[in-house]
Point group: C2
Chain length 220, copies 2
């Protein structure tokens, strides 16, 4: 589904260059469940953003369902992402003025889903992450772990082909983290591909395979 | 140093009341190192905010060095916090327009510390958390775990009497988490009291004692 070939990502910082990714190769196949591990600052988030087309590489290429992301317009990439990708950002990026259920409904609103079905789907996935009694709370009225779970629910709402989750259990207790892993495994069994960047070793062990990112490079 | 007696914290949500804390008792003594554990949404952040005077209880009392926080003005509480408390927020609350070192210097600027000493102290504590080569990066130019470490460094910069850290290792790999624990233990040995809300069982085990928060109540 997604193929990253020899990608690099540089950031210019004044006169220096920060080489966030120095050479990464990843292939995400249909039904894959890939854990991405590695030290803080090694390049995991950068890699996930490139795989989802949220960012473009400095060199190398990323192909999504055969299409070169760098050859698409911003709008075309956004439309592709909306239909095919579910992104759980490390910083959540929830809209503070919307309630939990409204945040989760957002990706569904752009698709041809009736208003009632949108609400039912959003409520169902929020209930899967244990937030049935927090649907009308806004992010400022939720705990850190509850916000994280809203971000997860939003990524799953439009039933994407691939879920890219960046540290999805960083704020969760062990029991809730296991519930999230079980949910991910269930989706994977049903055909969803997942790429999860994580420091949570139990979550990484629950994936089908694993790659490590160290100092901007992928291994193996 | 800090004593919370039978504190509760309610939030009004339309016509319902969310009882974030239903009854908590905590005593933080000089030189204490207390881990606060419990499920997501159980009330840990709420408790830490009450201990630091960032929030006030609905009922019960919180005394800081013998002074009732609810009897102080907003300015007096803020001044007390600036001198005596180091807060690591679960959501970091870094200033996005300031660099890492400027964010860490901020609490020092309000004290009688020379500009040069401020810069040296901030650089030193950032170096302690492995960010010596990221001093001039702004939060948007840092990884999640790097931002978390800037938030930790900022809490330690003014050498407070008590550090209240809310999930300080949620975004960190195991190696970096251990480095943070070692730093906390070192500060504790030197006389700083610490209260750490965490889902990280290794970090909790590295504290001197532990209380659990479940459904808004502390145990024991
Ligand atoms: N402003 C608010 N309005 C309504 N409810 C709130 C508000 N802030 C927090 N809550 C609720 O209070 C409860 C306790 O929240 P708190 O942030 O203290 O939990 P926590 O133990 O820190 O959780 P986590 O481990 O996920 O960070 C949660 O169920 C949350 O939904
Ligand atoms: N906009 C930017 N400008 C400069 N450097 C950046 C920028 N964004 C990221 N970096 C650097 O690129 C490196 C990789 O960042 P990335 O966020 O991918 O790390 P990560 O593996 O996700 O870390 P963590 O586990 O802490 O989330 C980091 O060292 C970071 O400081
Ligand atoms: Mg990251
Ligand atoms: Mg919390």
């Amino acid at each position: 589904i997604v193929v990253a070939r020899d990608v690099t990502r540089d950031y210019r910082q004044g006169r220096t260059v920060v080489r966030a990714l120095r050479g990464a190769d990843v292939t995400v196949a249909k039904g894959d469940f890939l854990a991405v591990t590695g030290p803080s600052g090694s390049g995991k988030s950068t890699l996930l953003h490139l795989l989802g087309g949220v960012d473009l590489p400095t060199s190398g290429s990323v192909h999504f369902l055969g299409r070169n992301l760098a050859a698409m317009s911003v709008e075309a990439r956004a439309a592709l992402r909306l239909r095919q990708v579910g992104l759980v950002f490390q910083r959540f990026h929830l809209l503070p003025m919307l309630t939990a259920i409204e945040n989760v409904e957002l990706p569904l609103a752009a698709m041809r889903v009736s208003r009632r079905e949108r609400r039912e789907r959003a409520a169902a996935v929020l209930e899967r992450v244990g937030l049935a009694d927090r649907l009308r709370h806004r992010p400022g009225e939720l705990s850190g772990g509850q916000c994280q779970r809203v971000a997860i629910a939003r990524a799953l709402a439009n039933d994407p082909a691939v879920v890219l989750a960046d540290e999805p259990t960083g704020e969760l207790d062990r029991t809730t983290s296991r519930r999230v892993l079980a949910l991910f495994q269930e989706l994977n069994t049903a055909g969803t591909a997942l790429v999860v960047a994580t420091h949570d070793l139990e979550l990484a062990a629950g994936a089908r395979r694993r790659i490590e990112v160290v100092d901007g490079r992928t291994r193996p």
